[in-house]
C-alpha cells in the first residue's frame, strides 16, 4: 500500500519516528517528490486500520515535536543546573 | 500577651514586631507599619530572663519576625543561652530564607532547638500570591523552604483553609509530598474570624462543614505517606471520628472558648474548642452524647 504525506505539515523527523516503530514488522520505502512524500509499505494486511494507526502516531509525534522545539532550551538549562557542578572528575582524567 | 512564661504553655510568645512583608487576606493580626523592633526586643529579653528553665517551648512570632534581621538572631542566641533546654518555634513566611546564608545563620544560632512554622496557601503560585497579598511571595517561600530543608532545620507547613484554596487541598497534599518531601509535619488550620478574615469575609470566609471532605482526603493521603499531619482549630463534632486523632489542642489557652452546649459533650476535654476572638461561630456544632 502507499501513503502520501505532505512534508509541509509533517517533518522528516516525525515520519522517521513512526517508520522506526513499524520497521520490524513491515518493509517501508520512502520517496520524496518535492514537498510530497510517498511511503510504500509491504506486508500491511488491514490497510484501513494501518492507515488510521499510522496517522494517529504521526499526529502524536508532531505534537511531541512542537513541545520539544519549544522546550529544548529550558531542558538544557535544567540539566545544566541540576548536574553542572561536577568537580570530582576533570576532563584530563578522562583522556579520549 | 504573657507577663511570665509557663513551663507547659503553648503560648509563650516572643512577639518581635507588628510589621509584615506579606498581607494575607485572612490575617488575624493585621500588620502595622511602625518601627517597633527595639521596643519588643527589650520586652522579650526580660521575658526570657525571667522564664523558668524547664520551659518547654517559646514561640517567636509577629507580624513577620525575620524583618527584625540581626535583632532576631540575637534574640535566638539569648534564648539558647538562658533556656538551653527550650525549643524555639519561629512563625515566619519563610521568604527571607530564600537567601541560603540566612538559613545557614539560623542553623548556627538556633542549633538543634529551632524549628520553623511556614504558611503555604496553595500549590499554585498565583493563588498563593493572591492569598498572601504579595506578588513573588510563593517563589521566595518555596526557595526559603528548600534552604531550611538543606540546613536540616525542621519545618512545619501551615495551611490556613479558606474560600480561595479549599478546592485544592488534596492537590496541595500531593504537591507537599512530591516537592516538599523533607517537611516534618503539616498543620491544616481553620480560620480565626477576626482581623482581615472578618474584613474580607465575602471573598474568603468558608465554613469547615464545606471543606471537611477535601481536608480528610488530603490528610489521609499524607498519612499514607507517613507525613504527620494535624488539624488545628476545628471542633471534634465537625470531624468524622476516624480523623479525631489528627485534631490537636491548637488554640492558645487564653483565647479558647466553649459554648453552653459543650458542657454536655463527652469529648469536651480533648476538643480544641473555638476562638474566643472569632466574630462568628462555626455552623453545625453539636455535643457528642455522654454515652459516647
Amino acid at each position: 500500500m502507499t501513503l502520501q504525506i505532505d512534508r509541509n505539515i509533517y517533518s522528516d523527523n516525525c515520519i522517521s519516528k513512526v517508520v522506526y516503530w513499524l520497521s520490524n514488522q513491515y518493509a517501508i520505502s520512502r520517496y520524496l517528490e518535492g514537498k510530497k512524500e510517498l511511503l510504500v509499505i509491504e506486508g500491511a494486511c488491514d490497510e484501513e486500520s494501518f492507515r488510521k494507526s499510522f496517522f494517529e502516531k504521526l499526529n502524536d509525534y508532531k505534537l511531541r515535536e512542537i513541545i520539544d522545539a519549544e522546550t529544548k532550551d529550558i531542558r538544557t538549562i535544567l540539566y545544566a543546573k541540576a548536574f553542572g557542578d561536577f568537580d570530582d572528575i576533570t576532563e584530563e582524567e578522562i583522556t579520549e | 500577651m504573657k507577663e511570665k512564661f509557663e513551663i507547659d504553655s503553648n503560648s509563650n510568645v516572643l512577639f518581635v514586631t507588628d510589621q509584615c512583608n506579606n498581607h494575607c487576606v485572612m490575617c488575624c493580626q493585621p500588620p502595622k507599619m511602625k518601627n517597633d523592633f527595639d521596643y519588643h526586643f527589650k520586652k522579650n529579653v526580660s521575658l526570657i530572663k525571667s522564664a523558668p528553665k524547664a520551659t518547654k517551648v517559646v514561640c517567636v512570632t509577629g507580624g513577620e519576625p525575620t524583618l527584625a534581621g540581626d535583632r532576631l538572631f540575637k534574640l535566638i542566641k539569648i534564648v539558647r543561652e538562658n533556656l538551653p533546654e527550650t525549643d524555639i518555634q519561629i512563625l515566619s513566611n519563610g521568604r527571607i530564607f530564600a537567601n541560603h546564608e540566612t538559613a545557614h545563620l539560623l542553623k548556627e544560632v538556633g542549633g538543634d532547638r529551632v524549628f520553623v512554622g511556614v504558611p503555604l496557601h496553595s500549590d499554585y503560585a498565583g493563588d498563593h500570591d493572591r492569598i498572601a497579598g504579595c506578588k513573588g511571595a510563593y517563589k521566595e517561600t518555596m526557595l526559603g523552604l528548600y534552604n531550611l530543608g538543606d540546613e536540616g532545620i525542621p519545618v512545619e507547613l501551615r495551611i490556613v483553609i479558606n474560600k480561595m484554596n479549599y478546592r485544592r487541598l488534596f492537590q496541595m497534599a500531593e504537591f507537599i509530598f512530591k516537592n516538599l518531601y523533607f517537611v516534618d509535619w503539616t498543620a491544616w488550620m481553620a480560620m480565626e474570624d477576626t482581623g482581615y478574615a472578618t474584613k474580607n469575609a465575602k471573598h474568603i470566609w468558608i465554613e469547615p462543614l464545606e471543606y471537611i471532605p477535601q481536608l480528610c482526603k488530603a490528610i489521609s493521603y499524607l498519612d499514607e505517606w507517613n507525613i504527620p499531619s494535624s488539624i488545628f482549630n476545628i471542633p471534634l463534632c465537625l470531624l468524622p471520628q476516624e480523623y479525631h486523632h489528627f485534631a490537636v489542642q491548637s488554640i492558645s489557652d487564653w483565647k479558647t472558648k466553649y459554648l453552653d452546649i459543650c458542657d454536655n459533650c463527652a469529648l469536651k476535654e480533648q476538643c480544641s474548642g473555638l476562638f474566643a476572638t472569632s466574630k462568628s461561630i462555626f455552623k453545625g456544632l453539636k455535643p457528642y452524647p455522654k454515652s459516647f
Binding site: 513541545i67 538549562i77 543546573k81 | 485544592r168
Partner: protein, 466 residues
C-alpha cells in the same frame, strides 16, 4: 488564563485518558485532547491549568522562578549516581548442587574441582571494591551455589570488616543461596554479620522441583529457609522467583505459596536469555504469556491486600516508587544511566571484573564484550576504561532511539548488556526488544489500574512504598 511557556513533558493515552509525564517523572491524568489544548494555548479548565503550573508542566515565566527547585528534584531522581557503585557481586564458584532448567549461571557439578575463587582473588577483589567511593557497600555472594564455599565467604566478610575499620562505610552482605546446604558454621557467620539470605522459590513443590532438576529440591529449600529463619530471624531471609514456562500457568498458586510460607513480598521475574535458559526458542510467545501471567499475579496480590494481608510485588513497587515519589531507585535493571558499572560491579571466580551479572554469563558462552579488566587492574582503568566509556555513550535512555521520546521513559531504563546479548549491539533496537515490550506492558498496566481503580489500588500501592 495567563500566558505561559511549555516545560518538557511527554504524553500517552491509557484507559481513555491522556497521561502527561514531565521530565521529573511526575504524572498528571487529564481528559483526551488536553495536550492539544495546552500546546494551542486554548485550555479552558482552570484547575487543570493550576495543576500544570504547580507540577512543572508549564511555566508562567520564560525562566521558571523555581528553577532551583526543579533542578533539585531532578538531581534527587538521579541521586543513585552520587554514590557510584554500591552493589558488588562476588561470584565465588560455578559449582552447584542443583540443576535448574533455566540456570543463568551455567553451573557445573558440585564436585568439580575448578571454577572457584581463591583467597588471594577474594583479597584482591575486596580491596578493589573499596576503591568505589560509595558510602555504602553491599557484598553479594553468588555462584553456582556460594554456600558450597563457606571458607571464602567467611574470609571475604572478615577482610571487608577489617578494612572498614579505616574506611568507615556502611557494609551489608547478601548470600544468594538455594538453602540446600546451609551449615551451622555458615549460618553463624551470617548471624554475626547480619547477612541477608536471598533464596529462590519458584512456587509450590510441583513447579519448584520441576524447575530445579531434583525431586527433593522444594523440601530441602523449605527446610533451609526454616533453619535460616530460626538462626537469623524472619526478616533476614527473602525469596525471589524465576518464571519458567511451566510457572506461567500458575500465577495464583505461586502467590499463595509465598503468602503461606510467611513471605511478605515476591519479585515476579521473567527468564533471562542466558545460560541454559536460552535454549527456550520462542521468546515472543514466552514474553506474551509472561505479561499475562504478571497481570494475573498482580491482580491476585491486590486481592490479598484487600483482604488485609500485606503482600508486595517488588517489580511494581520499583515502578511505583518512580511514579509516585520524588525519590530515586536503586534497582539495577531499570535505571538511566544504566545500572551496569554505575550501580553494580562483578568480581568473577575467573579473576576478571564484569560490568553486570549478565555480563559474566555472556562470558561463560565465550562472549567477553563486557569483561572490563582483571581484578588486579587499577580501579580507574576499569571504570574509566575504553569499554565503559563506549557504554557511557549509549547507556542513558534519554538519548536512545525509541526511548528518548517514549512517554514512559522516566519509569524505564537502559540495558546495553541485554541489548547486546539479544539483538547483537549495545544500542539496541526498541521495536523488537522483549524488555521494551514487557516493561511497556507492565508500566501501562499499572497506570491503567491507577486510572480505572484509583480508590481501590492507590492505598495499597502507597502501603508498599512506605
Amino acid at each position: 488564563m495567563k500566558r505561559y511557556a511549555l516545560l518538557p513533558f511527554n504524553f500517552t493515552r491509557i484507559s481513555g485518558k491522556e497521561v502527561l509525564i514531565n521530565e521529573l517523572g511526575d504524572m498528571l491524568i487529564t481528559p483526551i485532547g488536553s495536550v492539544q489544548k495546552i500546546v494551542d494555548h486554548s485550555l479552558d479548565n482552570e484547575e487543570l491549568y493550576k495543576s500544570l503550573v504547580a507540577n512543572f508542566f508549564i511555566s508562567e515565566e520564560l525562566l521558571p522562578s523555581l528553577l532551583d527547585v526543579y533542578a533539585s528534584r531532578l538531581r534527587l531522581k538521579k541521586s543513585f549516581l552520587d554514590d557510584r557503585t554500591a552493589l558488588h557481586i562476588f561470584v565465588l564458584t560455578l559449582r552447584c548442587n542443583q540443576n535448574c532448567v533455566y540456570c543463568q549461571a551455567s553451573s557445573r557439578e558440585e564436585n568439580s574441582i575448578h571454577c572457584s575463587m581463591t583467597p588471594e582473588m577474594m583479597e584482591t577483589s575486596v580491596k578493589l571494591m573499596f576503591r568505589s567511593p560509595s558510602p555504602s557497600l553491599t557484598m553479594e555472594f553468588q555462584g553456582g551455589e556460594p554456600s558450597l564455599e563457606p571458607k571464602i565467604i567467611k574470609y571475604g566478610i572478615e577482610l571487608a570488616e577489617e578494612i572498614n575499620q579505616q574506611e568507615c562505610r556502611k557494609l551489608s552482605y547478601v548470600l544468594c543461596s538455594n538453602c540446600r546446604s546451609l551449615s551451622d558454621e555458615l549460618l553463624q557467620i551470617c548471624k554475626q554479620y547480619h547477612v541477608l539470605i536471598s533464596t529462590s522459590l519458584d512456587g509450590p513443590s510441583c513447579i519448584h522441583n520441576k524447575n530445579r532438576g531434583r525431586e527433593d529440591s522444594y523440601e530441602k529449600t523449605m527446610a533451609g529457609i526454616q533453619k535460616a529463619r530460626e538462626v537469623l530471624g524472619h526478616e533476614y531471609v527473602s525469596a525471589l522467583m524465576t518464571t519458567s514456562e511451566l510457572a506461567l500457568d500458575y500465577p495464583k498458586e505461586i502467590v499463595d505459596e509465598y503468602v503461606n510460607d510467611g513471605f511478605t513480598d515476591i519479585f515476579l521475574r521473567a527468564l533471562n536469555p542466558y545460560g541454559l535458559a536460552s535454549d527456550n526458542e520462542d521468546w515472543d510467545k514466552y514474553n506474551e504469556r509472561f505479561i499475562t501471567f504478571y497481570k494475573e499475579a498482580l491482580e491476585y496480590i491486590i486481592e490479598k491486600n484487600k483482604q488485609g494481608i500485606f503482600f508486595r510485588e517488588d517489580y511494581a513497587t520499583i515502578i511505583l516508587r518512580k511514579m509516585l515519589t520524588p525519590y530515586t531507585t536503586g534497582f539495577v535493571d531499570l535505571q538511566s544511566p544504566a545500572g551496569t558499572v554505575n550501580s553494580v560491579l562483578i568480581y568473577n571466580y575467573d579473576g576478571y571484573v564484569y560490568a553486570s551479572d549478565e555480563s559474566r554469563m555472556l562470558a561463560e558462552n565465550g562472549d567477553f564484550t563486557f569483561r572490563l579488566g582483571k581484578i588486579s587492574d587499577k580501579y580507574e582503568d576499569i571504570v574509566y576504561g575504553e569499554k565503559v566509556r563506549n557504554m557511557g555513550k549509549i547507556w542513558a535512555n534519554e538519548a536512545l532511539a525509541g526511548c528518548s521520546d517514549c512517554p514512559i521513559r522516566a519509569y524505564c531504563g537502559a540495558d546495553p548488556v541485554r541489548n547486546h546479548s539479544t539483538q547483537g549491539d549495545m544500542y539496541g533496537f526498541r521495536p523488537s526488544s522483549f524488555v521494551c515490550k514487557k516493561n511497556k506492558a507492565i508500566i501501562e498496566y499499572i497506570i491503567s489500574l491507577m486510572i480505572e481503580r484509583e480508590d481501590e489500588v492507590m492505598p495499597i500501592f502507597r502501603s508498599w512504598l512506605r
